[in-house]
Amino acid sequence: MADRVHSIADVEFGETLPAFDPDTSLDNIKRFGRHVGWGTGRFTDHEIARKEGFPGAIVPGVLSQGFLGAMIHRWAPNAQITVIDTVFRAPVLVDHPHKITGVVTNIDEDEKTVEIDITVTNEANETRVFGTATIKLP
């Protein structure tokens, strides 16, 4: 497993990307809410979220997608993400540790593209968000 890759020649089929611990703290979600959007109670207030039937405040799906993109950019700084598809299977809870992982599932040397399966799991190792990304590398 390479900590970083710079060209398609560095990528190995089946390799696991370095795991990334996203910032799911309430402070980060509140800041996201103030500056980007999704600042309503279900995202920024545990009590309001519980009243809406959630176990606690939840991370906006658009931010979970951002976490996945950041993991890819940290591993492959020269990569251009061309497609990223995410399935919101279950809520990502604020103030709970989560882990983001990725596995290389296809390499097309001619097109210089790499496909990656991406997953957000919680501390019980349950999948909360999953999907695929296609990146282009030099």
Partner: protein
């Protein structure tokens, strides 16, 4: 495919129902990048010569409506089931963009709890020169209530 879904597809797929304009603020996508954990200065430093939004930022651009105004109510509660971005060109600070939305797909899956209807709303995003720079899809799932 179920008859009711075939009818919805014939009536609604690929017909534009919303158009909205966005003026992109680099400070907003910088905050998006920082909250996401991006470390590349091209996403986080406004003065960087290649300053641009992370590709997934376009998922935060929201239209006025998710479905056509005459789309019939389905028997269940809608939930955000996922998002897809197809990137074609960078989004820059100060860009003036236009988002045009249509229903891109309608399909079903059946589980133990019954039928789920998936609606895929695609926003095609263009710059002010008319160049198509991204597609942002929102997948909504409706778990149908039992009619019994």
């Amino acid at each position: 495919m179920d008859t009711d879904i075939e009818e919805l597809r014939e009536r609604f797929l690929n017909i534009e129902f919303d158009e909205v304009e966005f003026e992109i603020d680099g400070k907003r996508f910088r905050e998006y990048a920082l909250a996401s954990g991006e470390t590349d200065p091209k996403f986080t430093e406004i003065d960087h010569p290649n300053f641009q939004a992370p590709p997934t930022f376009v998922s935060t651009l929201v239209g006025r409506r998710n479905f056509p105004p005459d789309f019939p109510p389905l028997n269940g509660v809608g939930m955000d089931a996922g998002k897809q971005v197809e990137w074609k060109a960078p989004v820059r600070d100060g860009a003036k963009l236009t988002g045009k939305s249509h229903l891109h797909d309608i399909y079903t899956k059946t589980g133990r709890s019954g039928r789920m209807v998936f609606l895929v709303t695609r926003m095609e995003i263009y710059d002010d020169g008319g160049t198509h720079i991204a597609n942002a899809d929102t997948r909504t799932v409706i778990r149908e209530r039992s009619s019994g």
